[in-house]
């Protein structure tokens, strides 16, 4: 059974379009994250939710909007896509623990290509 799953795995779209990436975890974790990994492999936190509540919101354009319908799901919607949005987006989850001591479990990633 897949612990953290993302759909779609690949997403190719035109500039200006709106797209969504979905993430689900079946680990019973309280906390979920979205990361962006650029072409140089640099991994940057975008958002984090704990029990459906937004707790981390980094400096991300407001074209990016996360939504957590329940604590097992965290979706990412992107409006008006730009070339610079091309990257691999990773969803992750962890059990809520003392000051971040718990490991994060990552999904397989969604490779977004904006043409």
């Amino acid at each position: 059974d897949t612990a953290v799953s993302q759909t779609p795995k690949y997403l190719v779209t035109q500039m200006g379009n709106d797209k969504s990436i979905k993430c689900e975890q079946n680990l019973g974790h309280d906390t979920m994250y979205w990361y962006k990994q650029d072409s140089k492999k640099f991994l940057k936190i975008m958002f984090s939710y704990n029990n459906k509540e937004l707790i981390i919101n980094e400096t991300v354009p407001n074209r990016f909007s996360p939504k957590s319908p329940d604590k097992a799901h965290l979706n990412l919607h992107i409006n008006s896509l730009e070339l610079g949005d091309s990257a691999v987006y990773f969803c992750a989850s962890s059990q809520r623990g003392l000051a971040g001591a718990n490991e994060q479990f990552f999904g397989p990633g969604t490779r977004l290509t904006v043409l």
Binding site: L43, F106, G109
Partner: protein
């Protein structure tokens, strides 16, 4: 605020040779330290972590890392690497709800 510096972006090494991937961190509070590995076209997975206690931590596949508070380092070592160890390795520091990842070190094992 925390930060992580991985001192080498790429480390090429021959099979069965030892390797060290270097990681330095900075933080004003107590932190937890991690090494994650990313194989090609996959997500990250935990390799090992330091929370407290013994400063030397080990993974099931032969890697080890030592927490050195005075040098603010958490270097990753393996005495003999395999071709299958070729991957991207990320050092990370956690405090509060946020985990900060280093820029990654690509370990490339040659036959």
């Amino acid at each position: 605020a925390q930060s992580v510096t991985q001192l080498d972006s790429q480390v090429p090494v021959f099979e069965e040779a030892p390797v060290e991937l270097r990681c330095n961190y900075s933080s004003s509070v107590s932190v937890y330290l991690f090494w994650y590995v990313q194989y090609p076209n996959q997500g990250l997975q935990l390799l090992l972590k330091y929370l407290s206690g013994s400063t030397l931590v080990e993974s099931i596949n032969g890697f080890e890392a030592e927490f050195n508070k005075s040098q603010t380092s958490f270097h990753l070592r393996k005495p003999s690497v395999h071709i299958s160890d070729t991957a991207e390795y990320f050092c990370a520091v956690a405090g509060g709800f946020k985990t900060i990842f280093g820029a990654g070190t690509r370990l490339f094992v040659k036959a």
